[in-house]
């Protein structure tokens, strides 16, 4: 009996230092909620052409230079399209972490565009997690070309859009988004049927390494557009270096604003009317306090 007790007590003493070696922090860590924002579903605020579920952070200025070259199947005479380039330059700015604005200008039809984009829902992890991110983007385009044969006024030259972007980062590599868009053009060509187009957009990215991801960006109009119109499709690769994101891609798209790529894409991707293009994004932090 006593022997048994002695061994029991000895066991207790042996256990003491063992208890001491246990992590001091275990209980504390459990008391902290693990709810976190899911960030970096896409590398950039655009999948390729379309708005992505990513936003600029407050005070960040994104200077973007976009190029779309000529068709690769123009052959060696046009240096596989590289002799011709259409471009758009833009400045986007994050007013808050959930609200950004941007202004851009394209050489294609000398079009100005501006937009406002806001985050409504943020995907999170942990208890009570939000499964998706939801954003809304709205903007206008203004056709500034002076060679307008219709001599139209400024109202006629504008088009407006509103777009919802719902997306989810499924895992570290794969993100997917759907983006229905309503586009209204005040002026349409004679062969166009509707001023207002409703289209569904889809975008995805798959990360193959820490700094490289494949992307795809596609839109399909639900209206019956003129038979010359085709669905804009772009496939590309995002390459991230320290301060830049390079988005290199092949697509059938010339226009780089919402009106142009949804309503004015006429090349057929699968018949080889493919052009090379790139987006270059450089982010500057503004309003930094000097220490």
């Amino acid at each position: 009996m006593i022997k048994r007790l002695v061994s029991y007590v000895m066991a207790m003493f042996l256990l003491l230092p063992a208890i001491g070696q246990e992590s001091l922090l275990t209980e504390m860590e459990d008391s902290i909620p693990s709810r976190e924002k899911v960030t970096a579903a896409f590398k950039s605020t655009r999948v390729i052409n379309a708005h992505s579920v990513e936003m600029l952070h407050k005070g960040n200025l994104d200077f973007r230079i976009l190029h779309r070259f000529g068709n690769v199947n123009d052959g060696v005479k046009e240096w596989f399209g590289l002799d011709n380039a259409s471009m758009r330059m833009s400045f986007d700015y994050g007013l808050t972490n959930n609200l950004m604005i941007g202004i851009g200008r394209s050489t294609f039809r000398k079009e100005l565009d501006y937009f406002l984009k806001a985050r409504l829902l943020q995907q999170t992890t942990g208890p009570g997690a939000m499964p998706i991110s939801l954003l809304v983007a709205t903007g206008s385009t203004i056709w500034t070309e002076s060679s307008d044969p219709y001599k139209t006024n400024i109202t006629k030259r504008t088009a407006h859009y509103v777009q919802l972007i719902a997306g989810r980062k499924f895992n570290e590599s794969f993100s997917l988004q759907l983006s229905p868009i309503l586009l209204h053009r005040n002026l349409i060509e004679a062969w166009d049927t509707d001023n207002t187009i409703f289209a569904i957009g889809g975008g995805a990215r798959y990360k193959v390494s820490k700094r490289i991801a494949f992307t795809i960006d596609y839109h399909h109009a639900l209206n019956s557009l003129p038979s010359t119109n085709t669905d804009p499709l772009s496939v590309g690769v995002d390459i991230e270096t320290g301060g830049h994101v390079f988005q290199l891609h092949f697509s059938n798209v010339v226009g780089m604003n919402e009106r142009a790529y949804i309503a004015q894409t006429t090349d057929e991707f699968f018949k080889g009317d493919i052009r090379f293009g790139f987006n270059l994004s450089r982010i500057f932090k503004l309003g930094t306090k000097k220490k």
Partner: protein, 184 residues
């Protein structure tokens, strides 16, 4: 004999409580790191690190969520989490160590106490031994602690692409500051 055993039991129980009384915790430990490279100085701060130490045994621990480090540039923060420390795979960094001379820390009177801590730092899935010299301050029963040490990025299998080698230092200075430990 049974009485003796009872006394031993009581002593061991009371011993446990006195050890428990010497435990200190903080949920607001500040951990900062600094990288000084030719082209860019980088710093980040995390003010929500957890820390606990046992004045009796000298055991001391830190745990910090990598996503809680705040950078001045949002893109830098994103790259830190996505490309360097891979926070989704390795969400936290943990330091566990032992103060070599815990008996020198007098909690009941004001003063400073230099501590030699040897332990291990786990970061980016790699555990390395780490020696830290820390200073504890005791004032009116409040305990604060500061420490700094340097770690080599390569030790923790964090790769810096040659393209940005001029922007990120290979050696990172880590500064730890626990403003107020709470006794529990």
């Amino acid at each position: 004999m049974k009485k003796v055993l009872l006394v031993v039991l009581i002593i061991s129980a009371s011993l446990q409580t006195t050890i428990a009384q010497k435990k200190f915790i903080s949920k607001t430990a500040k951990i900062s790191f600094y990288s000084k490279a030719p082209l860019e100085d980088i710093e980040a701060h995390n003010t929500k690190a957890l820390s606990a130490f046992d004045a009796g045994s000298g055991q001391i621990e830190f745990s910090v969520l990598m996503k809680g480090f705040e950078f001045e540039k949002a893109k830098m923060q994103e790259h830190f989490n996505e490309n360097y420390v891979e926070s989704d795979k390795f969400p936290k960094a943990v330091f566990t160590g032992n103060i070599k001379n815990p008996g020198d820390l007098k909690l009941d009177k004001d003063g400073t106490f230099k501590a030699e801590i040897s332990g291990t730092l786990t970061l980016h899935g790699v555990t390395k031994s780490q020696h830290v010299e820390a200073v504890f301050y005791v004032k009116n029963g409040f305990v604060t602690a500061v420490a700094d040490f340097a770690i080599a990025v390569a030790d923790y299998n964090i790769k810096i692409p040659s393209l940005v080698a001029e922007k990120i230092s290979k050696s990172i200075k880590v500064v730890v500051n626990v403003a107020s430990y709470q006794q529990r």
